[in-house]
Amino acid sequence: MRSKRWHDYLYLWTIIYFVLGLFNILFAWLGMIDFLVPLLFAIIGGNKYFCNKFCGRGQLFAFLPKKFHCSRHQQAPSWLSSSAFRYGFLVFFMMMFANVCWQTWLVFGGASSLNESIRLLWVFRVPFGWTYTSGTVPEWIAQYSFGLYSLMLTSALIGLIVMALYRPRTWCTFCPMGTMTQIICRAKTKKPLP
């Protein structure tokens, strides 16, 4: 095994992120790091170093089964890593992200009021009001926090489920950030998409 480097401990970041959000939802904004850094790596460097070395989430999915034997280590059905599903899931996820932005916009414009809850798996509403004290920041900033935290937690849950059912990093085969950065890298090398 290769020796551990500082960035091998970034799975802690993933845990810290979710814990911080339980105390104050405004920390959800830190999730933007996980959106922007991989894109910067891909656009500027033409690589997936984020996925390959720095993504705390990917590391967490690899780490948990090693520690707690919580994965079946079974090969996932191949459609889960097919191009069609990956691109489809990317589009779906982007639409959900656009919806978060739209809700934020509505609150910003005063067309709707702040909703202090998160939505898990796009279906289940969970009251989350204790994580926010009204008036701390403009309401749209809080609204975006609830929305982004919902997306982050939902995707983490899906990731944990496929981690347990299949191989540890199965989420990475259809993770929207992974798919998007690979598309950018392929475009940069002028390799046709598979």
Partner: protein, 65 residues
């Protein structure tokens, strides 16, 4: 007969899970596009093949090439 790992480049999602687990550090991710195995370094242990979440690494015998 020497075994080595072969990546199906069309299916690889370039996640790097294989590279992180390879005991010989024989795998690199080529420009974020797909995994490449250095067959001279690979000892054919099969760890990468069992790790790959996309199931796109096959173990081959050298003379199959």
């Amino acid at each position: 007969m020497k075994r080595f790992a072969e990546v199906n480049k069309a299916r690889c999602v370039s996640c790097g899970a294989c590279a992180n687990e390879c005991p010989k550090e024989a795998i690199t991710i080529w420009r974020g596009c797909y995994a490449v195995v250095d067959v001279n370094v690979c000892v054919g242990c099969g760890v990468c093949s069992r790790t790959c979440p996309a199931g796109c690494i096959e173990m081959r015998l050298c003379d199959e090439k």
